[in-house]
Amino acid sequence: MREEKILEKELQNLKEVTIRFAGDSGDGMQLTGSQFSDTTALFGNDLGTLPDYPAEIRAPAGTLYGVSGFQVHFSSADIYTPGDTPDVLVAMNPAALKINIKDLKLGGTIIVNTDSFDSKNLGLAKYESNPLEDEALLSNYKVYPVAITTLNATALKDSPLSNKDINRCKNFFALGLMYWIFNRPIEPTVKWIYEKFGKKQDIAEANEKALKTGYYYGETTETFTTRYSVEPASLPKGVYRNIAGNEAIALGFVAASIKSGLPLFLGSYPITPATDILQYLSSYKNFGVKTFQAEDEIAGITSAIGASYGGSLAITTTSGPGMALKTEAMGLAVMTELPLVIINIQRGGPSTGLPTKTEQADLFQAIYGRNGEAPIPVIAASTPSDCFFTALEAAKIALKYMTPVILLSDGYIANGSEPWRIPDPDSIPEIPVSYRTEAEGFFPYLRDENLSRPWAVPGTPGLEHRIGGLEKANITGNVSYDPDNHEFMVRLRAAKVQKIQQDVPDLAISHEQEGELLVLGWGGTYGAITEAVMKARAEGHKVSQAHLKHLFPFPKNLSDVLNSFKNVLIPELNLGQLAKVLRSELLIDTISLTKIKGLPFKSSEIQNKIVEILGGNNGN
């Protein structure tokens, strides 16, 4: 029966679609979005997501600042971003429509919950008249009015839940409807519902019913005449999971712990958007992971320094304001040359700034922001799944060179997710580490060929020694106020960090190896740059791309790479920090494209800049 009906409706094939779910903070849009993403990932599409939620937990219902959104971009081909402009907007209330309509593609689809377009909500959204009656809107977009609240309530009228709880299920109705329209299976979400609410049978059943009602609504009603299908992407063979950046960082450090044979210790204080990592790691108790929710960020990093001193793989996680508080302790880690990874999930600044928004404005701080000559290597992750490998890389550097390492990520890749082909556990190389145990010839500040000092952990007989934050004498590590020793040690510490360059792979250039224009990026701009470059090239522009993971020290060939192009464009979510560092380090000038809106780049913004630079000139 059902199948027949489906066949009556048109099934249109699309290459890619971007959907944005938007509603009140209390409407469950983050959940709806991530369920849609997970299902879509399971279905085999490539995808990118962008959650965007307010700093308030639940701003009063209906207000403009209370709107929460989740955008998902999925495709039958490789994609790199959550999409510049949504094709479809699901707006659960007038405020959500008001806030998001300006981003929607002209001619795009809007699905609205008409029940919420009452005078109170219209007023809260500062609409003077009902936009659903607005000719301009109706002619510019395909608007589908659906009485979601009523339909949901009717479907659940027999549920033992309270009216309030019934109403809270309406996001599953919307999700079901979207599953129908985009031809996705509902089973994964049904399964998830029962895993999540297993103990609360009534809630689980209500949610399942809402989901299915939404699905069948699409099927039965006349409103929707077309379904869309986005075929699975032809991804490389393998086992996949959908992964967000913060989860990938957590996994990466557990993997580093296993591969190095060291216990993992995280000292941290919650802060958006870094808290997830603490949350994930606190659940890995059976991996021997120790998480310490400290009283503040200073105790977060200093407890990690204590653990590192004791022989753990020690890390600390935070964001801008917390990073600032950790500054002094980072200096101690530099002086005592203990391995430590400091993870900064950047957010909008300065000060408390825009805590739930993304930005890349902590690069200067990472490279330069300490008292004294205190060099710390800096690396950055570029995509959600890259966070996993960047974590491994950070651990490797810290342990090999006995140094603190700063790992930069940002709110965008931390919360955004993408399908990840899970690497073969055995393909991940071991991280060789050994504690010093030999008493003969032991000196705390004697160095190996990498200029690393020995890691002699308490409990080792015969190696009792003292370290600290005062300047250390070369080799013996005793306190030394000797002027020449100080100069020697300052330069030695700088040389050690510089030596890491020997392990930094040469920067790879995608496309032409020299020419008119290189787009150079770092961190979370990777997806937008890649897409922009691909599109520009598709239009015939000769433009190459390179992406920096190692920001200090840089890859050896960086200068050569930059000099191979007439122009270098650097898109950054700040006022041009990498560009300034390049001037300072390499005396090379570049073109900056900056954006500081708390949002990632749209690929079109970068593409336009590329075209502008190349002018009519296609680089030929």
Binding site: K237, V239, K285, G288, E295, A307, P461, E464
Partner: protein, 348 residues
Amino acid sequence: METKVETKIDTNEIKYTSKDFASDQDVRWCPGCGDYSVLAQVQRTFPDIGIKKENMVWISGIGCSSRFPYYMNTYGFHTIHGRATAIATGLKLSRPDLSVWVATGDGDLLSIGGNHFIHTCRKNVDLKLLLFNNKIYGLTKGQYSPTSEKGKVTKTSPYGSVDYPFNPPLLALGSEATFIARSLDRDPKHLQEMIKRAAEHKGTAFLEIYQNCNIFNDGAFEPLTDKNTKADNVVVMTHDKPLIFGKNNEKGIKLDGFRPVIVDLNDPNNSINDLWIHDEFDSSPVRASILSHFTDMPGMPTPIGIFRQITKPTYNEGLTSQIEHVTEKKGKGTLKSLLYSPGTWEVN
């Protein structure tokens, strides 16, 4: 490979003397500084504690007193100002097999380090905290500290400070520390005893040591240490013993409700049986709180000894046993189980 074995010191075989705990570094405190005595008493006590020296770690912050680790032939870490307890916490949580000691000053622990101090006490992390309280910032050359008395004239308070001081044992009680004690740099035997008792305690052991800074706050504790005045100004708290002091043990303390009163034991109307019998293990913290307040009460002697000690699971035990418990239930995690967690799919 064989030399490797030979150079290892097998401390099992060694019976330590105090010298074994002295490092090869010259001690750099001012001549006459009370810190010397604390060092000596620690070095004398440690052989009796029965822990191998490679398993002992001294962590300190910054201050004269925080130079302490350099002089101990154990592992040591002279960290940054105020953070010793936080660093020690990370070390102890990650390495419960170590005996972790903190040497700190009144500025280091109670001024900049106050937050880590109260949180360490609250969590009952198994650390031994030795507070060298000289009621002054020594290393920075003589500014008042949070334990300096109100009205104190120092370099930063030329007209007298307007700060009220902390009462360290009271603050520790307010943070629910499980072991709170006090001793004096100039009472070596008592200090040794307190160090030993701190070592034996499981959980945060807070030992305040009144320590003379003969350069910037000389004589701060003279009434308590001078042999002519000491007996009248100090009462030793001994478990199960009445609170008695005075040159001829002629003064006793009894409780009148919540109010401690000094009674003359020479007066036949007063009996030793009515005196306050000290109970270190008192289940209620109230008596310890009254004892802490002695120092604010004019005429009352300063108590030394253990204010109170109680036993409750330490933070490090809690953390470790949770890990064991979960691991037992879920099985030890593998890289494969980590990566292939729910929600995977296969592309062929």
